[in-house]
Symmetry: C2
Subunit: 656 residues, 2 copies
Amino acid sequence: MSNVPGSIDPARLQEVLDGPWAEVRDAHRSKLDARFLPVYGETGDQARERITRLLAELPTEQGMPSAYPSEYGGRSDVGASIVASEMLAQVDLSLMVKAGVQWGLFGGAVVALGTRRHHDAYLRDIASGALLGCFAMTETGHGSDVQQLRTTCTYDPATQTFDLHTPHEAARKDYIGNAARDGRMAVVFAQLVTNGERHGVHAWLVPIRDEQGNPLPGVTIGDAGPKGGLLGVDNGRLSFDHVRVPRDMLLDRYAQVAEDGTYSSLIENDSRRFFTMLGTLVRGRVSVGGAASAATKVALTIAVRYGDIRRQFGTPGDDREVLLNDYLAHQRKLLPALATTYALHFAQTELIAAVSDVQGGDGPVDEHRQRELESRAAGLKAAQTWHATRTIQMCREACGGAGYLSENRLPGLKADTDVFTTFEGDNTVLLQLVAKGLLTGYRDEFGSLDGWGRASFVAEQVREMMLERTAARGLIERLVGSVPGRDEEVAVTDRGWQLKLFEDREKHLLDGAVRRLRGGASAKKDHPFDIFNDVQDHVLAVAAAHVDRVTLEAFVAGIDATADPAVRALLSRVCDLYALTVIEAERGWFLEHARLTPARSKAITAVVNGLLKELRPHMRTLVDGFGIPDPWLHSAILREEPARQEAMAAHDGTES
Amino acid sequence: MSNVPGSIDPARLQEVLDGPWAEVRDAHRSKLDARFLPVYGETGDQARERITRLLAELPTEQGMPSAYPSEYGGRSDVGASIVASEMLAQVDLSLMVKAGVQWGLFGGAVVALGTRRHHDAYLRDIASGALLGCFAMTETGHGSDVQQLRTTCTYDPATQTFDLHTPHEAARKDYIGNAARDGRMAVVFAQLVTNGERHGVHAWLVPIRDEQGNPLPGVTIGDAGPKGGLLGVDNGRLSFDHVRVPRDMLLDRYAQVAEDGTYSSLIENDSRRFFTMLGTLVRGRVSVGGAASAATKVALTIAVRYGDIRRQFGTPGDDREVLLNDYLAHQRKLLPALATTYALHFAQTELIAAVSDVQGGDGPVDEHRQRELESRAAGLKAAQTWHATRTIQMCREACGGAGYLSENRLPGLKADTDVFTTFEGDNTVLLQLVAKGLLTGYRDEFGSLDGWGRASFVAEQVREMMLERTAARGLIERLVGSVPGRDEEVAVTDRGWQLKLFEDREKHLLDGAVRRLRGGASAKKDHPFDIFNDVQDHVLAVAAAHVDRVTLEAFVAGIDATADPAVRALLSRVCDLYALTVIEAERGWFLEHARLTPARSKAITAVVNGLLKELRPHMRTLVDGFGIPDPWLHSAILREEPARQEAMAAHDGTES
């Protein structure tokens, strides 16, 4: 291992992190000026007005509509679209979510589920922002379990229209972005009924407001009211009282209803068709995970920079007080979070490339790869959003009382990102989806979102897992293979040993879950719920271990692809810190399963503390490498602090 | 161990929890009606106006002024005052903080630091709320390190006034509650200078606004602006430009300045005098810790009740979907948090009794007991506020998207309590104070708040610790003493074994810290900062382990004092869950130090899951036992949900 140079130009680090969509990132950095930044202390109405206005001013060329076909204002670049939403997230999270609803969810559904006539009629206006719309899936009574939606849409051959109806209050569409104030149309998900038969959930394009912004007849629009954050997003509620929807407004890429009401689809199974339709939702999850990490980077940049200027408490023999970042306890808070943010950055970059690869073409999507992608997106969305919630909170505390003032940005970052852990899929439900994918080796078809329903089915067909590696497969296998049999002879900074430990944990946990599910399946045939529920904590641990391994492998692959030797050396230390803090946190498990001896476990804590010391001089470089433009930090403590510190030092000098 | 009955009347549990100040709790329950509850979606100005208005309407008789002497509207009951602030916290946290600033900090400082003439002149108006005031200690440049305040107050014998002055921007008073809008006076902390000599930090009673609410000459008042929460509290900034303060406005209980400028004090050492003056601050910490727990109870009540009505995902062979609370993963989130809340409740109750005991009388305060009290208050404040931050966040997530809507209360609870981890003492600094108390066996006098300054001094005088037990000493020693030598023969639910494990961890960690500090002190004489900093993580772990032990012992003592056998049995299981989830979380350490074998460590996880099953039927009882009046929950999901669920069930029945 080469040594890290004394100082590294953050621009070199940024170049590595910016990766393949650097151009999109730079376009946002140069175009989004102070007008686009959050305004502190606004009312909800002011925030909504501002965000709607700014949405119309966003650059579309390198923005989220990049995902659309070129004839409709895009350039079929899914990756650019996701990266654009990450950049928006660093400017204003309400703006990012509003844009995500408009271009990702609403427009994305029209692209993916609609056909030529829908595209020709609406997509250009959607891309330009002239037609604002909603994605009306979630219902009050059914959040995560979307297959059980209660809204119905019943075809009537006599009028050649559908009858869209909300049967009871729990079936109203809830938390719908763009609904309370701006949306003129909505993609509405409902149970399709024709000729007396139900065919599962489908989507329609439904006008909800007239030109003057008034709700159309039969449409009731409510306001979800004040929220814990994202004040600029007008979340609302939609109910339909026998609303007539023309036949051609069914988004009919995957299923059609003929004039006489005959239903047809190339995908016969209702459930399978539904999950195929949902396949494009994966982009929303990737965007939300990326946005969470983007916001985390802003928070870490503020906390690290503040810790480099803020002094507190004296030390004997020195007149100056000590910088916060020089305290071990402060480093213990900030640096592991920073290392995890780096690790997740590489995992997210790899994921965006995979989305681009799997969904970017015009041809049919490979089903196996799509399932893998969904699992990866689910796991990394959960990991990134939980990491954001924890880390932004920690950064708030690391800035003390100042961190609680809106003018210092952190309260807004915290409030706005909070919902990410439960929207676009509740994190716990998503981790379960990851685990089920592993348990069945991707063979359990199209049951991924049903949570519990098919526990016994899963238990019957579980098999030994083959670790699927996407990142730098050869490199990782070589590193793992080179670890000698006796662990004690290997340094804890040996990359192969770290990888092996992550892999062992996932594999062992998975084997154990399989064994327990099999045992349960034979012992508790009459209580199918208990089979799965009794091992739910174990199953979630499998998923978490899997995400950890995938993340470490992505980091290792990212370092391997880095040419700049100084940056490589620095990233390698950061990777050590990530790997070892995960192992340290999970050392209970490793000790229980004899993967660590007590002595080696204690040694890891000492090595981690050594890494903190080694990385201390690079803290500022590590956050500057994120490449967040100074004005985007938008935090009073960073603007005022140098002047204040100077003044104080001068005065103190005179006084003492 | 007796079995827990199938169902227990929550009122019996509430009686135990309400404890000695039940009357104060009941008075608040009956008097604080819907008018006092938070209003969702207010602007900052609206919130401040409302809270100021409500403050004047609060019942003072059983309220926070209870702590004052009877001639000034109180009844010298410190405990009642703290319990009153806990009750306010369940109604509205802005109201609690505003009341805490007015009666606890401002009025409390006048009581504790002033003398008869101050009491006679102001205390009655302070108690009635006719005179609103501030506690102006913190400065922009010095938050935690209050001994280093830069504001000066210089005596001038010619005019017999003090000259109060803010020398530079970093010395302005910051985050001061009641300052931006309402405060007419402030207790201002500054460096006292007389006859050319500095005597350290003292406090003055300083008018800051005239009758019309305008700032007085020389006083500059700023607004801290929007915050992450507590919108109803008008935090502000105060600067003084050579403001003349009459000599008799020095709060002169501990030090006096004669007409000619002669300084006198019974406590000669500046630092020691300062920390004696700060001694009453301990009540603020106890109140904040209690308020954090009170808010946590509201959040848990909402999440548990919602989980008992909200269903999600079907299960094979059953038409109804599954209640959230029936999922193991949901129980794993809610029940350990509930158990910790119970444990902390008993620790807090014991702490309030100790404050009452030590500070309640009129005579001089026992210095040793006061130091112990400060350490206990610091540790439990940190534990309760961090527990609140984690648990309220978890409850928000457990309620999904609904948890993000203001109308469901959780966003407000989260935003308002957030600052508690860093105000009234930053938690990390407080834990350090706890650790230093342990390291020096309370013999390091009056250096407790200086953080780092005397690291080498500490290192020299550290000695073996005597575990100081306050709670049911005899009982705990008997339980610990009865554990047989070979752990493997003891059930993990054996209380003595659990206690012994907590005690072992604290003791071993402390011994290790002592050893490392001694080693550092001899090896790094020239780098005094490094001596302490290199072991800062270890030292903080000592403090955390200490707080865990104190908390468990308080829980055990609380159960022992409970007569009702059914309640005892239930509490005993909850205590098992608390103890075992702490051990489970810390099993890395226990395994490293051979306090657990791998097999026994794994067994603990299984026992915890068993306890979750056993406690599942009592979840609702456990939250109802907190005795929070239904209207105080103020959460739309609880009001609407039963009706909605019924409607849905009825409809679904018709449809399927």
